[in-house]
């Protein structure tokens, strides 16, 4: 079974990995398994899920822009297996790029009109790098702290130092004449 025509195999690998992440993490961190899966589907979405929405938005924008730029160079055709098998497999790192590559994978990419042919290979590289960087972003989820659980598990502030016991007022012995 070759990798380039087995989308079910890729989906199986991603699903099993997410399940394993959920099982082997601590009870409070099991949401990271779902975040792992969602982060594969859409770059940055895993960070949204654990509450780090600024970081998730950053990853979504920067990886999305890179992908669109690479696709623009390659005439809005993803990397096909015939173009470059290594770049093609690199697209499997993200569900979005994987979906586009699966749907249009047989169409050979061509360099856009008005662009020098030497830009073609870097354009394919841009598309591939998005998938590979998304794998790094997914792995960073395992190290990230979920905002919701962080606030819930925040240690209680230390109790204010109690004032020392007031010295008991001992009645002075009455002087006797």
């Amino acid at each position: 079974m070759s990798l380039h025509n087995s989308p079910k195999g890729v989906l199986l690998i991603v699903g099993v990995t997410s399940l394993l992440v959920s099982v082997f993490l601590k009870k409070g961190e099991r949401i990271k398994g779902a975040a792992f899966l969602v982060g594969w589907l859409v770059p940055g979405a895993g960070h949204f899920l654990i509450g780090q929405w600024k970081k998730g938005l950053f990853f979504l924008l920067i990886l999305g822009a890179t992908y669109l730029f690479g696709m623009w160079i390659a005439g809005f055709r993803p990397v096909s297996f015939d173009d470059n098998p290594f770049y093609y497999v690199g697209q499997y790192g993200s569900g979005m790029t994987f979906l586009v590559a699966t749907l249009r994978g047989d169409e050979k990419a061509v360099v856009r009109d008005g662009i020098h042919p030497s830009w073609f290979d870097p354009g394919l590289l841009y598309v591939c790098v998005v998938g590979l960087l998304n794998l790094v972003v997914m792995l960073s989820l395992l190290d990230a702290k979920a905002v919701s659980s962080e606030t819930a598990a925040a240690p209680a502030p230390p109790p204010a130092p109690a004032a020392g016991p007031a010295p008991a007022a001992t009645p002075l012995p009455e002087k006797t004449a």
Binding site: K55, F58, F59, T66, F69, S118, Y126, L133, V136
Partner: protein, 61 residues
């Protein structure tokens, strides 16, 4: 655009890679930008020096 204009594409892709890698290990935006730009400088220097070395080797040897 001439045949080596694709070298311009080196800067955006390296910046993207460095920004993403730094964002994965840090939460401070200033630190992310500072480290990414510093590493871009180092990688560009390596590229330029390597290119110069290859040019010299091919030109005179």
């Amino acid at each position: 655009m001439n045949g080596i204009s694709y070298l311009v594409l080196f800067f955006p892709i390296v910046l993207v890679i460095l920004f993403v890698l730094e964002a994965c290990r840090s939460d401070d935006p200033k630190k992310i930008v500072k480290r990414a730009l510093a590493n871009l400088g180092v990688l560009t220097a390596v590229l330029v020096l390597g290119g110069a070395f290859v040019y010299v080797i091919n030109r005179w040897f």
